[in-house]
Amino acid sequence: MLENIGFVDVTIGAAVDTFKGAGGEEKARKFAVYGYPFLARKPG
């Protein structure tokens, strides 16, 4: 989606176990949910 809109150089960083130890951990495990940092650039 980002590239379709026009962004370039899209990168995804390392996964973080965001919900580890939180109330939502069980559901996060079920759907393999993790947090990620994303970087993209508008051409120019």
Partner: protein, 205 residues
Amino acid sequence: MSADAPEELAVDVDALRKEVQNKYREVALDPHGAHHFHTGRYLARHLGYDDAFVASLPDAAVESFAGVANPFVSHPFSKGERVVDVGSGGGFDSFVAADLVGDSGRVVGIDMTPEMLAKSRQTAARMGCRNVEFREGYAEKLPVEDGWADVVISNGVINLCADKRATFQEIYRVLRPGGRLQFADIANGNPVPAAAMRNVDLWTA
């Protein structure tokens, strides 16, 4: 789906906004309550934010932080940059950005939840943080002029927007040519059932 085809949204935009506002009103007013995610200083440490800087912030600036990763690790910030924080909440990431861009930079935090806006504005005033302001608005309609921002940040917000294409298009609009988007968000490795995707109550559960 082609890039030009209208996207069929899984849920009603307004219904989801109300649900999200209800959830984050709780996080603003009762940050240490029983939420399904971590908040505050524990979360900031868990996500790898700078310990010394976080320790320097007053509790009000950190306690309602509910991000999902650290958007600042992707690229360094420079003094003087102009930053938009989409879904700024209690202001934590905006305050981090404000420190990185310095007095010659500027940060505009945007949020739709009145209690979060009130909290971030009060905290900024108490901190004497003059390079930050907080504006009311939606991610899909940012109250920022075209091409104003060097950087757009966001943390755990876009996954809660029903129309992600509209949100990214709006971010693209406010970025200057050559500007960058640094956001953090969640992604699922296993598929979520379609019925669950259409249930607004589950988006913030």
